[in-house]
């Protein structure tokens, strides 16, 4: 105890904690529990929620799909059941303990992807489809005029090898963790689960595609031409083999030679992961969108230069990421408020109201010119549009009104960012929080979330309490859009007030 106490009181521990407390935790309004994490370890809490949970069709599909893949992996993985069962039980235990379940439940798509990816090599060969060798280079030439990997890998040297290796061999593997950390710290609460959902599903769909449509990468064509392939062949590190030679030790050769999915060229999950990182970073920090897209372009070049993928693979991965991100954005992701500094600054969570950002809708709310500089390739300009809502909600006159009625009563300009210039800073955020706290009648904590499964990124049976998610603007199901589009009424009927 004494040693532990000494360590905890040491400057090395105390100083970072003080800084973290000063810069982040002090942002939190006293009455708000929105950003809180769960520290309970009582399994009965989760079991109780599980028993009383009303399962929606979406949830059944979500958990059913992921469970069936995990079951498949459990069956095919060539290990004794005496080993597999305890591992599975520990995994289940992590889902039952509230402390761990808050992460594990939402990371389930990621775990499922990893389980399937690392077990893919164990799938019996006679179950696997035939390997395509010509399809990708042919489609690349037909759609893009040439084999772009050949174009970029015509000239190789040590300098270019290092330039290519850095994003492909180093940044790629660490970037998702960094992005997740940024999202946890700076995005509204519940955003990280959306990232887990999008990242996991994108990779899972990608690996399933690779298994059902096995295809050879450019390195194969360089080694064997367009000769037939088979599953007994070993993989190749491609251009990364030169990095191993340069540094004098085996970093990639063995790993890529024994990859679980050797003929998994399409789609490129390097591209998919990078573009997913880029899209989330642009969503969170739109000001630096050129930096994020530069990284994406750089990784694309590296991937082709190192002969790991054709350009069509990159497009496949990137398009998959874009589609999954769009789905996540319009269904699950909360809106980033540029006036808020970090996770702990938020006192409520707003979702995108598609009616107010649809330029063809009568409920459309104009966006100001200033938002252009904040856009992330146009994918989240609703950010600026919605920054006004918390301020509007401080005024009792707006409390009981729908967004449509507000828009009807006020000039459009009053909704524009230019009229309420709020820099994204701790100072402004604190000022606002102070204002909110002063207005007891605008106590957002009273907005209990009775449908967190609808609002959460990954439907979860374990998290339906203590999140104050405002559904003022939530029209989040694409399935609902058809009926809503034909209606002139906005989603105000869905208000949980």
């Amino acid at each position: 105890m004494t040693v532990a106490s000494t360590i905890l009181r040491s400057r090395v521990i105390q100083k970072p904690f003080q800084l973290f407390h000063y810069y982040f935790l002090l942002e939190k309004p006293p009455a708000s529990t929105l950003s809180d994490l769960q520290f309970e370890t009582d399994i009965s809490i989760s079991l109780n929620k599980f028993k009383h949970h009303n399962w929606s069709i979406k949830e059944v599909c979500h958990y059913g799909f992921l469970s069936s893949i995990i079951f498949f992996v459990f069956i095919i993985f060539p290990a004794s059941f005496l080993i597999k069962i305890p591992i599975l039980l520990s995994f289940i235990l992590c889902f039952l303990i509230p402390l761990t379940s808050q992460f594990f439940v939402h990371a389930l798509p990621v775990f499922t992807w990893l389980a399937l990816f690392f077990s893919a090599g164990k799938i019996p060969t006679h179950w696997k489809p035939a390997i395509s060798v010509k399809v990708l280079p042919a489609m690349e030439t037909i759609l893009y005029g040439d084999n772009l990997s050949d174009v970029l890998a015509t000239v190789t040297n040590s300098f270019l090898d290092l330039v290519a290796w850095f994003p492909y061999g180093i940044v790629h593997f660490s970037a998702p963790f960094v992005v997740a950390a940024f999202i946890f710290l700076f995005a509204p609460p519940t955003s990280l689960r959306s990232f887990g959902f999008a990242f996991g599903y994108m990779n899972l769909i990608g690996v399933l595609t690779q298994i059902f449509f096995p295809a050879a990468a450019p390195w194969y064509k360089n080694l064997y031409g367009l000769q037939p392939a088979n599953y007994s062949m070993q993989g190749s590190p491609g251009g990364l083999g030169r990095i191993d030679e340069l540094f004098g030790f085996d970093m990639y050769t063995t790993t890529f030679s024994n990859s679980p999915v050797i003929f998994g060229a399409f789609p490129s999950l390097h591209s998919g992961c990078a573009i997913m990182d880029v899209l989330f970073l642009c969503w969170l920090f739109p000001k630096y969108k050129y930096v994020w897209w530069t990284y994406g372009s750089w990784l694309w070049w590296s991937t082709m230069y190192l002969t790991h993928h054709y350009f069509i693979d990159l497009i496949g991965g990137a398009a998959l990421s874009l589609i999954v991100f769009e789905y996540t954005k319009y269904n699950h992701l909360p809106i980033v408020d540029p006036a808020k500094f970090c996770r702990w600054s938020y006192v409520e969570i707003n979702k995108i109201d598609i009616q107010t950002i649809d330029p063809l809708s009568s409920s459309y709310i104009s966006v100001s010119d200033t938002s252009d500089s904040e856009n992330n390739l146009g994918l989240d300009d609703n950010v600026t549009r919605f920054v006004n809502y918390p301020y509007l909600q401080q005024q009792p006159i707006f409390q009981a009104q729908s967004s449509q009625s507000i828009a009807a009563q006020l000039p459009v300009e009053e909704f524009e960012m230019s009229s309420i210039s709020v820099p994204r800073s701790r100072q402004s955020s604190r000022s606002y929080i102070a204002g909110v706290v002063a207005h007891d009648d605008v106590d957002v904590s009273s907005h209990e979330d009775n449908s967190s499964l609808e609002n959460s990124a990954t439907p979860s049976v374990f998290d339906d309490e203590h999140h104050q998610i405002s559904s003022t603007t939530s029209t989040t199901s694409l399935e609902d859009l058809a009926s809503q589009a034909s209606s002139l009424h906005p989603s105000s009927s869905k208000k949980n007030r």
Partner: protein, 250 residues
């Protein structure tokens, strides 16, 4: 007139039948931008020395030229009123791009099968065709390439690779599906543009604020310098595209 009324009949009112058009256009332009980035990588052959012919060079240049217009349209997709002219130009370019793309697709199919495939296969066609016909003999090549796995029979290894017929089927069916999807995407963009222009006309009619041209006009037309000249040129293109489509749909 008949063409317009026929076109109106096939224009989708929702993306994929249930998603708002603007989300569809957002995805379509996003994928379009990612695709057109290929031109940037392709043109790098100038530096790498990879040989390309005139048509490949032209294709890459056209991709690069269309890229900024798609980006601009996506950036302004939800920014009224300027999105009307931005999307109009992107819509016209997308349509021309689709038509030109069809010709390039046909040319590159011929290019692949007459130059690339023949060169890289170097007689492999005959061998693989024979392999397809006589399973059991085709695994010899595979065994040599793989370093051989003695426990696996050569016929098993041969069957693990897609046959020539299967590869050709996938290549042609994928090309057809992608072309059909591209035409559908084009219709979605046209449908969105049409609705946007109609709304823009109504806005101008009923809202005094929008009676003139959009917010950018004064700033763009009064600016000086080379960049301003480019902006002015693009602005005029956008206005022209908008007027053209307005008269086309009216």
């Amino acid at each position: 007139m008949t063409f317009v009324s026929n076109l109106n009949r096939v224009l989708p009112q929702k993306f994929l039948g249930f998603i708002p058009l603007f989300i569809g256009v957002e995805i379509i332009l996003g994928i379009g931008i990612l695709n057109k980035a290929g031109g940037v990588y392709g043109i790098l052959s100038i530096f790498t020395g990879h040989p390309i012919n005139f048509w490949q060079w032209l294709y890459n240049m056209l991709s690069i030229l269309t890229l900024p217009f798609y980006i601009s349209a996506l950036l302004n997709l939800k920014s009224k009123p300027r999105n009307a002219r931005k999307i109009s130009l992107a819509s016209l370019i997308y349509t021309v791009d689709t038509l030109v793309g069809l010709f390039f697709t046909i040319y590159f199919i011929l290019f692949w099968f007459s130059v690339e495939d023949v060169t890289q296969s170097s007689g492999d066609y005959v061998k693989r065709a024979l392999d397809d016909l006589t399973p059991g003999s085709g695994g010899i090549i595979s065994d040599k390439l793989a370093g051989s796995v003695s426990s696996t029979s050569s016929s098993d290894l041969s069957s693990q690779s897609a046959s020539l017929v299967r590869e050709l089927y996938v290549i042609f069916s994928s090309t057809i599906v992608i072309t059909v999807v591209r035409i559908y995407f084009n219709l979605v963009i046209i449908s969105f543009t049409k609705a946007l222009l109609k709304q823009d006309l109504n806005d101008r009619k009923y809202h005094e604020r929008l009676n003139g041209d959009d917010d950018d006009e004064v700033e763009i037309l009064s600016a000086t310098g080379l960049l301003a000249g480019v902006h002015r040129f693009v602005y005029n293109l956008e206005r022209g595209a908008k007027d053209t489509l307005n008269s086309f749909f009216s």
